[in-house]
Symmetry: C2
Subunit: 224 residues, 2 copies
DNA sequence: ACAAATTTTTAGATTTGTCTAAATTTTAAT
DNA sequence: ATTAAAATTTAGACAAATCTAAAAATTTGT
């Protein structure tokens, strides 16, 4: 007793959103939070909550909040796996840039074929992270959360490597491109401005001055 | 004035079906024919006919029949292009067999991204035919109909090459696999049985006896 | 040409996913 | 502990895509 019901595209999008808002574990996610994230109305979320509870994908108690069941979590991980693998495919095989992939992956993540996604995984040589540095769940739902910190949180003189972005908007990613900031680049924190918390850093040997807004959306992995 | 409206997945499926039933040119396609092909009810087809006419994708006159407008034809060709390119992709890049690809392509053909399909086209080196021998329309809607004939229609001693299948069902394709009949194989018609119209042929040098049903679903290109 | 058969359309209902506006419950503030 | 504010749910509506049953138009057979 597991894949009992067909899950629609809309249901998949709700499940994914609940997961991203932390609805795994036993945290209860608010109706409003889901509505805001999905740019829909709270009443629509309530309607869907009932439907998903009916299908055994979420726990739902009126007025209390929503969280994913085990099956819901498995479903979410499967969608996220597909989304991220397609993103890697688009970048590695079709020369998409990292700011172009999300939109298309939003569509591709709903394609229903286990064989398809497993073959894509194989074609890409089983990547562990997507183009934004986010981990890719394996077929059985496991994934390694990388040891990473926001650049804005590390102390002076820290050296490391860019490993991910928090903000994945096209606008932010294009800004990073323009400033030659890319995942894999080496980085060192040279100075912190107390006044505006901007940072003077060295990236791949070149000096760069970046705002707090940028630093608080870039993940780095500190050198051992 | 061209891509005026958003075309839904359901509308795309109707457009494609009308095209395949010959609704390009000015032939009028019957409501019942469309309903049968799509395994839906005639009343649903009528409803959709009105919607598509409203959007300028089909010509529709009550009780007379349905045909595609120029925009409708362009739309159909774009969907068919996507379907067939994805089929080639699945076979060439992901080792799908030709009997497995159709189902998945039915989903992938609805992905909306011009860049995606053009890059897939490029990755595959601009194939002209899909795994079943059907021509792939180019970006601008042109395609070459191959010079081909049903094996059941050619005369005795004809020599040629298998270039396509008429029946694309998984059952038929698997049958061909089992009998080592593949596109690209050389073929020669040795003898025709008058009684049941079965054929004795030579395929890649090996003798084979095939029924009329098989011969009438295999396309060959005669040697010059 | 005209009745019978067939095809097609209409009318009305259903499901899914969404919305607005009103009612209810929970939470926060005094 | 009340009251005010905020969050959530309900009730009722709507659009899309489908269906069934009945009505209308067309085609066919004699
Ligand atoms: Mn993404
Ligand atoms: Mn990503
Ligand atoms: Mn196909
Ligand atoms: Mn095909």
């Amino acid at each position: 007793m597991e894949k009992l019901f067909f899950v629609t595209r809309s249901e998949e999008n709700y499940i994914k959103t609940i997961f991203h808002l932390g609805g795994n574990s036993s945290a209860l996610i608010a109706t409003n939070a889901i509505a805001e994230q999905m740019e829909t109305k709270p009443s629509s979320v309530t309607d869907m909550a009932k439907k998903l509870a009916e299908k055994g994908l979420v726990h739902y108690k009126k007025y209390q909040g929503i969280s994913l069941t085990d099956i819901g979590i498995k479903t979410a991980l499967s969608i996220i796996r597909k989304h991220r693998l397609w993103e890697v495919f688009l970048v590695k095989k079709l020369d998409f840039t990292w700011d172009e992939v999300h939109e298309v992956a939003e569509q591709l993540e709903h394609i229903k074929s286990e064989k398809l996604i497993d073959k894509i995984d194989e074609l890409l040589d089983f990547p562990k992270f997507d183009p934004h540095g986010d981990p890719i769940p394996s077929k059985d739902g496991k994934f390694m959360e990388r040891d990473k910190q926001l650049l804005s949180d590390v102390e002076l003189n820290t050296e490391g490597v860019c490993v991910g972005v928090k903000d994945t908007s096209a606008a932010f990613l294009k800004f990073l491109d323009k400033n030659k900031i890319a995942l894999g680049n080496t980085i060192k924190v040279l100075e912190k401005e107390d006044f505006d918390q901007s940072l003077h850093i060295e990236m791949e040997g070149k000096a760069l001055h970046i705002s707090h807004q940028i630093a608080s959306n870039l993940y780095i992995k500190k050198n051992d």
